[in-house]
């Protein structure tokens, strides 16, 4: 095992992609993710890969579409306004069932917003963002080590399910440094996907990458096929091979109030749980590690045991809707958020917990 190194989250995304066998990156500069293209512009040529700065995020995601159709492990990254521009390509990539990894280092919106950390792209990430009946897997790491592990998992999931996988990282995680243990590199063969364009190892006939189905019956069949795939994904995260990627719980067994948060917020919530318990408040934490598929069953099970939920986000409240759907009215679900690039402090969240637990 290699020694731990102190690295920035954004740079770890770049290095982990290389370790995962990604040799193609297409992107466009935008803060706070610009360290990713900067890192890969230096790193990819060292491994005979291709780094290309595109003319726009639209072009970048379409280069990804092309490279993925030709069988490559390929990635693009951006930050919120740029990810909006990529939605067209994501819809095509999902429709054509191509694997790729897309990184969003989320900043404040709507519009140009600001470059401070935010979680206000949850809906865009988990609801599809682009047009049509499709889903994107969404991984939400909360440490630099997990950024490394989840970047690699993202490539494997993308290939396994032939679907885009989104790594949702906020500005703090992208910018922060923590020690990270980088895993051993994976080998990847450009010709291991028999469906890829230009691949000599095919099953016969020609390979076509297309999303047009003018015949309504064909398109309906295609959409139900995608839906069934998404059901398999959901099952594998709920009770199959990817359970370990789905959710983390902390101190929930006796919890009277369960805090729910993802990404950097979950780290703050862990501190809040510790402080609350020192005050005699039985608090616990549920952290969705994967935002789609959402770990609904874990929350549903806990709803039977706890008294209430408090969802904390750096937004005006987006994931809280998924928590409410999971809890389904069995227990009250409250929300506390800061938005516009503000990060809530452990003190203000603890104050909210206090108010809920001791209403008088």
């Amino acid at each position: 095992m290699a020694d731990k190194v102190l690295m920035k989250g954004n740079e770890v995304i770049g290095e982990a992609a290389v370790l995962a066998g990604c040799r193609y990156y297409f992107g466009y500069p935008i803060t706070p993710q610009s360290e990713i293209p900067a890192y890969l512009s230096r790193r990819l040529p060292e491994v005979e890969g291709v780094f290309l700065q595109a003319e726009s995020e639209v072009a970048a995601i379409n280069m990804v579409y092309g490279a993925a159709s030709a069988g490559a492990r390929v990635m693009t990254s951006s930050s919120s306004p740029g990810v909006s521009l990529k939605q067209e390509g994501l819809s095509y990539i999902a429709g054509a069932e191509l694997p790729c990894v897309v990184v969003n280092v989320v900043r404040g919106g709507p519009g140009l917003g600001n470059i401070s950390p935010a979680q206000s792209d949850y809906w865009q990430a988990t609801r599809g963002g682009g047009h049509g009946d499709y889903r994107t897997l969404v991984l939400a790491p909360n440490s630099v080590q997990e950024i490394a592990d989840m970047t690699i998992a993202a490539f494997e999931l993308a290939d396994r399910f032939r679907n885009p996988v989104l790594l949702l990282v906020d500005g703090i995680l992208g910018q922060m440094m923590e020690p990270v243990q980088l895993p051993a590199p994976l080998s990847y063969d450009l010709n291991q996907k028999p469906w890829a364009l230009g691949n000599p190892n095919r099953k016969g006939g020609r390979n076509l990458c297309s999303t047009i189905f003018l015949d309504v019956e064909q398109l309906e069949e295609h959409n139900w096929h995608l839906y069934q795939k998404y059901q398999v994904v959901t099952d594998e995260f709920a009770k199959g091979a990817y359970q370990h990627l789905a959710v983390e719980t902390h101190a929930v067994d006796d919890a009277e109030i369960i805090l729910v948060g993802y990404g950097i917020i979950s780290r703050i919530l862990k501190t809040v749980v510790e402080k609350a318990r020192k005050r005699g408040i039985k608090a616990g934490l549920v952290r969705p590690k994967t935002l789609w598929p959402f770990p609904s069953q874990v929350l549903a099970d806990l709803a039977a045991r706890t008294k209430q939920f408090l969802v904390v986000e750096m937004s005006c409240g987006q994931m809280v809707e998924d928590v409410k759907l999971a809890v389904n009215g069995r227990k009250p679900v409250f929300f506390f958020g800061r938005t516009g690039g503000t990060v809530p402090s452990d003190f203000e969240i603890l104050n909210e917990v206090d108010k809920l637990v001791r209403p008088d």
Binding site: M176, M177, D346
Partner: protein, 198 residues
């Protein structure tokens, strides 16, 4: 200083090497087997001429890497003192660059440590290594940084483009450490009682 966790905010002008200073402390903690985190201020703040970062060094896994109430503030210029002084934990430490920050009426519930970092750096021949003077000074106070280990590791941490500065950086780090050792700043109350008499 708590023996289990050190939460530090470092601040100064852009160009004073604040982020690198933070990185040096985080590296020092990591190489001593501790858990560490480093978060910079980024974006427009970078362009406004001030820079700050947050470093945590801990015996235990770090839950929140964000710091509202630091144990220590390392201030390299006057605006940084104004901005972060009030946030220091009672009983915490304000370590400041006394070459650029004059003595003034500070809080009396914190330990004050003045380091003439810019002057020491000038004596060494490069004003830009004031950050390493501060790193050395902090290492003397820290319970979680291994000074000897850092002296060995430091040359590896200087970017390849600045290798010619490795020696002077190390000298600055050592001078900062020695400065605190000679001044016996470990007896912090001595320092701020002096200020109270001003």
């Amino acid at each position: 200083m708590s023996a289990e966790v050190e939460r530090i905010i470092l601040a100064g002008f852009g160009g004073q090497g604040i982020l690198f200073l933070g990185k040096i402390l985080a590296e020092a903690g990591m190489r001593n087997g501790k858990h560490v985190s480093w978060i910079p201020s980024y974006g427009p703040e970078m362009r406004g001429g001030t820079a700050n970062c947050t470093v945590i060094i801990s015996e235990h896994p770090i839950a929140s890497p964000l710091v509202t109430v630091p144990d220590t503030v390392i201030a390299m210029n006057r605006p940084s003192v104004a901005k972060f002084n009030v946030r220091i934990k009672a009983g915490g430490m304000l370590m400041y660059n006394s070459s650029l920050i004059e003595r003034q009426e500070f809080r009396d519930d914190i330990r004050l440590v003045e380091i003439p970092a810019s002057e020491i750096a000038d004596e060494l021949g490069n004003a830009r290594v004031a950050n390493l003077v501060m790193a050395g000074a902090y290492a003397k106070f820290s319970k979680l940084i291994d000074y000897e280990g850092m002296v060995k590791a430091l040359p590896q941490l200087i970017p390849a483009s600045k290798k010619e500065l490795a020696e002077i950086n190390l000298a600055a780090f050592e001078r900062g450490y020695q400065y605190v050792k000679e001044k016996k700043y470990m007896f912090g109350r001595y320092v701020y009682s002096v200020f109270k008499g001003i």
